[in-house]
């Protein structure tokens, strides 16, 4: 077919009766010469690419090792693999299980089992329903068991030294419950209660002091410092949430107040103390979704009765780690009370992702009333990126500096 086409002034003839036999492109001499070294240069990248592709395929495909396990255990429910890394537990792997809409719309059961290279073991089961007893009344139940053989302890007080780090094994078991009443979208009250059990053993980190008796003497602690404990607790948490968005708040804030009474039982019989905390967060929109997040938090423990064995040191409030003084290790500072402040400047880098820089300040006190002051506060600063969704933060990568060290955190949010 020959078509004479008039296109304005000119005319084009399209003859589709003559057909071109396609010939694939052949490399020129120059291209061939360049191809070989390029192939070698790209080889490590290709290897990384192939392994990433295989990993991603395994994680996202419907059929894989996890479906084999599901069949093996006769569970036709979504099991999923878990992978994590922490400086103490090292590489952790496990399996998670989630079941939604069990009794009521919106409720779910979750279970996880983790094992780590450094012999950490964590088992966790949780039930959550936002509206089990009506539209505004929800319930959360959880039980977990953890064996953590390489936890650090630095002694008590704001002056504790990094070089005093020792290694302790914690064995903890917890049963917790929370009955939540949400009279409005912004205000909620939660009645918390539960039972906790703590046993301490010699640590596993061979480069540090691990013998509990030696540690007690070296750090000058009371004999009760590492006693086991069994505790019931009952508390009330109130939350006032005025944020305009849970994932990327640009105005408003949250005000959390929590007070609870802890009473010993069994080996901790006679022990009784109050624990109270306040956590205030406020968000300010500066310009074009650049946000300043301000946080002030304080916690205080007040012993009512020492009981037969006294208050173990490990039950005292701690400061340090991903949630407060980010440039310091978890539990770096420990005492009867703590206070901290944080400023975080957030700016968008991708859709639903922010970069941030921050500075944290905080310290622990023996008592707010007796030794509160503005001196010797510890500070850290850093930067990172975070991803958020409609329900909250989904992912956070943080690099933090302090006078002692550089810390990195990588965290997936609850709703992933």
């Amino acid at each position: 077919m020959v078509i004479a086409v008039s296109s304005g002034l000119a005319a084009v003839q399209i003859d589709t009766t003559r057909v071109r036999e396609p010939v694939a492109h052949k490399r020129s001499v120059g291209q061939t010469i360049l191809y070989s070294p390029a192939l070698i240069i790209k080889a490590p990248l290709k290897l990384l690419k192939k392994s990433t592709q295989a990993g991603l395929k395994l994680a996202t495909q419907e059929k894989g090792p996890h479906t084999f396990l599901m069949r093996l255990f006769g569970i036709n429910r979504p099991l999923h693999p878990l992978v994590s890394y922490g400086s103490k537990p090292s590489l952790m792997g496990g399996i998670g299980f989630r079941l939604r809409e069990v009794f009521k719309p919106g409720d779910q059961i979750r279970a996880k089992a983790w094992y780590s290279v450094n012999r950490y073991r964590l088992y966790e089961a949780r039930y959550q329903s936002p509206s089990l007893f009506g539209a505004n009344t929800g319930l959360a139940l959880s039980a977990d068991y953890a064996w953590r053989p390489r936890e650090s302890f630095y002694g008590l007080g704001n002056g504790s030294q990094k070089d005093d780090e020792v290694s302790i094994t914690y064995e903890t078991g917890r049963i917790e419950s929370g009955l939540n009443w949400q009279p409005s979208g912004r205000f909620g009250i939660t009645l918390t209660g539960g039972y906790r059990s703590y046993n301490l053993y010699d640590g596993d980190e061979t480069t540090l002091l691990t013998d509990l008796d030696v540690i007690r003497d070296t750090l000058g602690l009371d004999s009760s410092a590492f006693n086991p404990s069994r505790l019931w607790h009952l508390g009330l948490l109130t939350r006032f949430d005025q944020r305009n968005h849970p994932g990327q708040p640009t105005s408003g804030g949250t005000q959390d107040l929590w007070a609870s009474l802890w009473r010993g039982t069994g080996v901790s019989d006679g022990l009784s103390y109050w624990l109270a905390s306040v956590d205030l967060r406020q968000y300010f929109h500066l310009f074009r979704k650049r946000i300043l997040a301000v946080r002030l938090a304080a916690t205080s423990l007040k012993v009512v009765e020492d009981g037969d064995l006294g208050l173990p040191a490990y039950l005292l409030p701690t400061l340090g780690g991903e949630n407060d003084l980010r440039g310091y290790k978890s539990n770096r500072f420990q005492d009867n009370a703590l206070a901290m402040a944080s400023l975080e400047y957030r700016f968008p880098v991708w859709p639903h992702s922010d970069g941030f820089v921050f500075v944290d300040e905080g310290r622990v006190f023996d008592s707010f009333g007796d030794d509160f002051g503005w001196r010797e506060w510890r500070y850290s600063f850093g930067f990172g990126v975070r991803a958020w969704g409609a329900a909250g933060e989904k992912f956070r990568l943080t690099a933090a500096w302090s006078e002692e060290e550089v810390r990195f955190y990588f965290n997936f949010g609850q709703d992933l």
Partner: protein
């Protein structure tokens, strides 16, 4: 050390050598080919099911690094000689093939043809009930599949509740645009239905977010429809997209499909896929990706072969399908490493143009603008290899097709969207018009936009007629344009200044022309080269358009056999 220096020297020499190996048009006395033989019978390929997560990861990270390490590509880039498209013909056009059919720019369509688009069934038959037989799986928008009483299957997609008419009109308009531009698309029709008249097939199931199979009930159907805008009379407006038959999975914007012997040209080097960038930028089809394409095992004229389609245009213009488009759509990739790096380094103090976006005026259009739009800075949702290999010539080809849509054609496209608000229609028309002209001004500035050459021969002269597209489309109406024609004479390079088309060569000129190619002693034909450059006002001369003429000594006949727009 000396060896390393030598090796580096050899590599650089090879690079320069490779980058200098310019594109050579396939010239012959018969003139250009207008059809590729890529519709030969093939055995049925398996269905491709690529992972979107991997595609985003690969295109955003690994491919960027690989491209840097591709020495041939890098040297070509440094040398200003990027690799030209591999499937163009000798007059710088794309022959008809299983990917592309020349339509509006060479065979102007009427307004009615543009409005109608690709239309086989005319949409779902309203005379009987529609049976829902499958919920839509994947994608950001809700929908489901129906079968009408004729047995035709359609996927139904809807408008978000806050943006009536937006997603359906955007998809219908963009689909018709891509069809008229030459691509294969599915039939898409805007229609409406009463939800209570839908019938659900027995045994239909869906998988919930945990992957558990559940029965697809009337409640689930209502849940999907609750995400759609309902007309005041209770009907639901929808876009009915006719199911493509024998689907074999999406095509990739790079490489070749191994189980398709007809797939001869790497996709990143196909002109119509490279220049798709220009079309997507015009209608802001941000969501262009492998997953929004589809190969079908077509059966035409007794031959079975793979045909390649574009689909799912719901995220075009101001629509994101599920809601209005984010202002950044079209101005950055979803995960743009470069922009993210700049934001991180400047602590967010770098202001991106799209951040000043004003709220959209018309809910039925969403965020679609023409002020900050820049034809070369438009970005798809994630990097597309074919787009990254686009040259100035590819972009020029795309731009000239976009510019072939004149005002009446744009109005025909807008008619297809069935927007009820006249002000919204006018806004959309003006936006498309400004974007079109910006595309023309930008890409016509990268090559010399002389095109549609025609050669006429008289006993005493040759007349070469051409169109200056910048003038034709009124893009440089205030500038004075002049043209310099160079051809190789026996002694010197002859130049001739023209103020407009055509160029007439006398017998004397012709006898002075020197062949640039003579095919051997028993040759009956000779090839001649003419270069034309353009100057607007007193700006610098453009790169030349090269026109190739073939003289057949047997019948003393001249033919125009090639056109090359150098960039």
């Amino acid at each position: 050390m000396k060896r390393i220096v030598r090796l580096i020297f050899v590599l650089i020499a090879c690079g320069v050598f490779a980058s200098c190996s310019a594109y050579k048009p396939d010239l012959g006395p018969e003139g250009p080919y207008w059809k590729d033989n890529d519709t030969k019978n093939i055995t049925e390929p398996t269905k491709r099911e690529p992972s979107l997560a991997w595609e985003i990861t690969e295109r955003t990270t690994f491919r960027q690094a690989e491209q840097l390490l591709d020495l041939d590509r890098s040297f070509r880039k440094i040398g200003g000689r990027p690799r030209q498209a591999g499937n163009i013909n000798s007059v710088d056009e794309v022959p008809n093939c299983s990917w592309y059919t020349n339509r509006h720019h060479l065979l102007p369509m009427t307004a009615d043809e543009i409005r109608r688009g690709y239309n086989v069934t005319g949409g779902p038959d309203q005379s009987g009930p529609w049976t829902v037989f499958r919920p839509k799986v994947g994608g950001a928008t809700a929908g489901f599949w129906i079968k009408d009483i004729k047995g035709n299957q359609y996927i139904l997609k809807f408008d978000p509740p806050g943006n009536p008419e937006m997603a359906t009109s955007a998809a219908a308009m963009a689909g018709r645009f891509f069809y008229a531009a030459g691509y294969n698309v599915p039939e898409e029709t805007i229609t409406s239905f009463r939800p209570e008249e839908l019938v659900i097939n027995d045994g239909v199931t869906y998988k919930d977010s945990d992957g558990i199979k559940r029965p697809f009930t009337r409640e689930k159907l209502n849940e999907i429809l609750s995400l759609a805008y309902h007309n005041p009379d209770g009907t639901v407006r929808c876009l009915a997209s006719l199911a493509l038959p024998n689907i074999k999975g999406p095509f990739s914007f790079s490489g070749r499909r191994k189980d398709d012997p007809n797939d001869w040209c790497r996709h990143e080097h196909r002109r119509e896929l490279r220049a798709l960038y220009v079309f997507c930028s015009f209608v802001n089809h941000w969501d262009i990706k492998d997953q929004n394409s589809m190969d079908t095992y077509a059966d035409e004229d007794g031959r079975r072969f793979l045909k390649h389609h574009l689909l799912d245009f719901g995220s075009s213009m101001g629509s994101a399908g599920y809601g209005p488009q984010e202002p950044l759509a079209g101005y950055t990739n979803l995960f743009d490493l470069r922009d993210a790096f700049v934001s991180m380094v400047t602590l967010g103090l770098k202001k991106w143009q799209w951040e000043d976006a004003q709220p959209y005026q018309y809910p039925s259009i969403g965020y679609f603008e023409s002020e900050i739009f820049h034809p070369a800075k438009w970005d798809p949702i994630y990097p597309i290899p074919a787009f990254e290999n686009m040259t100035g010539r590819d972009a020029y080809w795309g731009a000239k097709i976009v510019l072939s849509f004149r005002n009446n054609d744009l109005r025909a496209l807008i008619d297809a969207g069935q927007l009820s608000n006249p002000e919204a229609r006018e806004y959309l028309f003006n936006t498309l018009k400004v974007r079109r002209d910006k595309i023309g001004r930008h890409w016509f500035g990268k090559v010399n936009p002389l095109d549609y050459f025609v050669l006429e021969q008289t006993p005493h002269s040759l007349t070469l007629t051409y169109e200056d597209l910048a003038l034709k489309y009124g893009l440089n109406s205030t500038a004075t344009s002049q043209y310099e024609v160079r051809y190789r004479g026996k002694a010197v390079i002859r130049t001739r200044q023209l103020v407009s088309s055509p160029l007439t060569l006398s017998v004397g000129d012709l006898s002075d022309l020197v062949t640039v190619y003579t095919p051997g002693n028993d040759a009956k034909g000779y090839l001649y080269e003419i270069r034309i450059e353009t100057q607007r006002d007193s700006s610098k001369w453009s790169r030349p358009v090269v026109v190739w003429l073939w003289y057949d000594a047997d019948d003393s006949h001249w033919r125009l056999v090639g056109v090359e727009h150098l960039d």
